[in-house]
Amino acid sequence: MAEPIYTVASDSETTGEDRSAPIFPEIAVGIDIGTSQCSIAFWNGSQVELLKNTRNQKIMRSYVTFKDDTPSGGVINELSHEYDMLSGAAIFNMKRLIGRVDTDPVVHASKSLPFLVQTLDIGVRPFVAALVNNVWRSTTPEEVLAIFLVELKMMAEHQLKRPIRNVVLTIPVSFSRFQLTRVERACAMAGLQVRLMPEPTAVALLYAQQQQQQAVHENMGSGSEKIALIFNMGAGYCDVAVSATGGGVSQIKALAGSPIGGEDLLQNTMKYLLPNVESIFSHRGIDEIRRMGLLRVATQDAIHKLSFQSSVQIDVNLGNGSKLCKVLSREEFEMVNSEVFEKCKNLVNQCLHDARVGIDDLSDVVVVGGCSNIPKIRSLLMQKSKKKALYEGMNPLEAAVSGAALEGAVASGIADPFGSLDLLSIQATPLAIGIRADGNSFIPIIPKNTTMPARKELVFTTVKDNQSEALIVVYEGEETRAEENHLLGYFKIIGIPPAPKGLPEITICMDIDSSNMLRVLAGARLPGAHHPATPFMEVKMPTVDDGHGWCAEALHGKYGAAMDLVSLQKKS
């Protein structure tokens, strides 16, 4: 048996730690890097515990400043003032930028942040830069995330006195597999082996553990199945999950997610307070960045206060003699952001529908994340679920990271004498995966919300007589038109035996294995043939390197429909 690339035993021995302490194998820690805040948690032998930084904070800011040439992040860095973060030298909100191309509306919305996000609108990665000594110095979201992970890793290694190499990192539901490769790259840059876990599924695992412990406590055996609706909204993303929980098993029945969050609430409110906000800041001078920062801090502060009071006085001096004085009411705030709240409601409806769960089936509604205190969000979920109260059992800011730490402990094979780790999270695909066929349609092969690991196949056929080649273009998403989904990759099947159109059978199989690796297999033959015409193709996805949506356009431009496929009609 091949040795793993790394071993923990030798490392912990060489550190010369107290030999009387048992040598524990590495237990993966849980990390939640949100758009705005982050945290790290670990299994301490009996429960999950969050680590604190030197300033005694469990919840830290997610940003990296590039001041004085050495980058430093929000874990160890201490800002002398909140406005320092908004001087142009700090990059934040990278979770909204990672793995996105410059035609993406989310990237465009990030252009109002107080650092440089430049787009050329051709479908390549955006240019991101921090202002260092009055120079725009380029960086990438992956690099920023990696710097941040290194800081978290160092902090944890210092406190836990052991090397950290394995982590469970939470991610938004709406991330495509291409985005996941970018997150994985950032983790590799930081020297971390990672398992990625959608945020609401981590919350669902924590919920499963709490229910299990309660059942044991009340001596009810494993208890009956409980259906929970989990709503997680932070600064960058809104995620919804429906889980069926029983006996410590959290089975994800449906997922829904969208890149909407507190950042959108903030930007809408800024635009409302200062309607010409974009033209004021379009040139990105040092003064403009400072003023943009001032407005941002004041608006953020006002939104926080509106969670607990019905109106708030905003008083901010934007320099150049311009001053903003306004009273903002909660009604105004809700009106300005009605579209965001409407989208939240739609996500909940969609998720309940996909899970085939009725309102009456819901045992609990769990609302977590940085936006969970917003009265409109709470009332929306109570209305929707016809519940008088939301689930109170967990800290809304710590739930996701705690669930990730539980997953880390469970997957590391740790046994707990009290059964606190007799848990399992059964995941489902957040997006459908399929190919382009039937003209320009997206034909899912592994549907959305399929339990993983999974394997599914579909049969297609040719569109032209004697067509010898076919192009397999793999997409992930939910849109009916192929190009509106995330492109994962493409390859060509050659040597289809000559036959009238519609006769050859081209089988496409998709396989997601236990490490969430996606492989696409393709083979062609004539009906009744005992042997395939050509060797099978087996392709690991994604193959695209930079999410270039225009690769698909280029293929279409070059080949037209000459290598198309259609679904094989079922013989009745």
Partner: protein, 206 residues
Amino acid sequence: MRGYGLALSGTDSRCFVPAMPPIFSPRRASPSVGNSQVLFPKSTRNPSLCVRAKAAVVNEALVSDAVEISFYDLLGIPESGSMAEIKQAYKQMALKYHPDVSPPDRIEEYTRKFIKVQEAYETLSDPRMRALYDRDMLGGLHLAFSARRRGNNEEMEVKSGWKSLWQDQLSGLRRRSMNKDSGASMSWGARMRRQRDELNDDEDEV
């Protein structure tokens, strides 16, 4: 007998359709498992068996790789099993066979089983599909159920070499992906647990 080696290489039960019902399998673990081979199990099954005990028996049959059993036997529940029993049995099986919790050296095998358990659960937990399945089972057709559900009329093609080549390719793929033990393709959780196991072994040796 035809193609038993292929019997568990995918979710697609079309490839499980034997030329004739497997009345006898030499690798059968115990007589009680043998009962599950009978196509009209109502008469032979004892519904009073508790779910857990039943599951334990069937588990052996599952790992012995060569037995084809009904969805009810797969989950270890009687045909009269309630929805609550189905859900509970599914979760118990998941705790055993899900690749996140299975032994590191048996991930490939257990993953295949988990996919089968998942298919059984999805069928039996949907009243409409369960009714269809029950009807087919009474007609002695339960093994062809997957094929019917997918709307394909391909039972006959199962015997063709194509299908077995395809299935060979798929299981070969799985093996290759699992055998690269130390590589990035090994399941994250499996790597973690293997690491732990090896550590424990080391400690034992000391």
